[in-house]
Symmetry: C2
Subunit: 197 residues, 2 copies
């Protein structure tokens, strides 16, 4: 299988991290969205939404959306449990990530890390950091009671939320006030197959 | 099972719509977020993220995130296919909805429908409508080639994306330029068990 992605992106990294932890070999094809490589006619034929990561199966079928890729890669393994409630709970965390976490933590990271110091979008940072802290507080409360996000144990939910949470300091968000999140990041880093971004 | 939700919310409506289409009986508990009912200690004990909809199973376990609730309700039915790729493709559309559609269409609808005519957030409407049209164009392109979003046929992906797409005109977004989306909305409305919002 081929994975089209940009290594600097947390969403692309997490697909690579899941493959590594699952022992799945992928051919990585660096695709730079800043250079317009996700907007070429060739790429849009593969993913009409013009985004990476994109997983291309050996038969040519494509799968977009990083969290859907994680579920595909992990299907049939403990990283995506098969029980009806347990699986839905992992999905709950993936949707939490997509709606309550990434639009704040990942966007704050992007602005703080990549935009010039006088860029007008820096005015958004206080609000983004406040919303980021709300999401991290929810995670911290849950991780106070168990080792991993889903009750079934380590899963793709942890991989998905690791990808940008570990970069919170780069977004100007201290993790000092979230000790359970900090301990959980260390547990994820200690998992077999872990690779740093 | 109990469903805590606010009827005016598209995300709550879609859980109700899925249950109706699947023939699952739910006890609806109206929970008004504008009145702070999702921020009471009692509700936060059920969902630490303080959001509706929330599904409460008969044994008291809770499941948050509307798209995870759809997957739970549809598990084991054709609305969430069991094949590895087919299931992942349904999830792909759910994540597309969450990241590329709802933050624009649903937010534009909220501002246009509920905020006063002189509210400063109305300045966001042109950008939100432009991004909404991008998402609708992706859907229109796919729906030009088949009847439903996922290749496996009608699924929770259609239910999830119906919920706010049918309200696009209330967000000030004409659907006239998206004929395949318009035809698909009619097909969804004609499905057994359909209930209007």
């Amino acid at each position: 299988m081929k994975l089209y992605g940009m290594r600097a992106s947390g969403n692309c990294y997490k697909a690579l991290l899941a493959a590594s932890m699952l022992g799945i070999e992928l051919e990585w094809i660096e695709t730079d969205l800043f250079q317009g490589e996700t907007r070429t006619p060739q790429f849009l034929a593969k993913n009409p939404n013009g985004k990476v990561p994109l997983l291309e199966l050996d038969d040519g079928r494509g799968l977009a959306e990083s969290n859907a890729i994680l579920c595909y890669l992990a299907d049939g393994t403990p990283l995506l449990p098969s029980g009806r409630f347990e699986r839905a709970q992992v999905l709950q965390w993936l949707f939490f990530k997509q709606y309550s976490h990434e639009p704040y933590v990942a966007v704050a990271r992007f602005i703080a890390k990549f935009l010039p110091i006088d860029h007008p979008r820096r005015a958004d940072l206080p609000r983004l950091r406040e919303k980021s802290r709300e999401a991290l507080a929810v995670m911290d409360g849950e991780l106070a009671t168990r080792a991993y996000l889903a009750e079934s144990g380590f899963s793709v939910a942890d991989i998905a939320l690791f990808a940008y949470t570990h970069e919170a300091p780069a977004a100007g968000i201290s993790l000092d006030e979230f000790p359970h999140v900090t301990a959980w990041l260390s547990r994820v880093r200690a998992m077999p197959g872990f690779i740093p971004q």
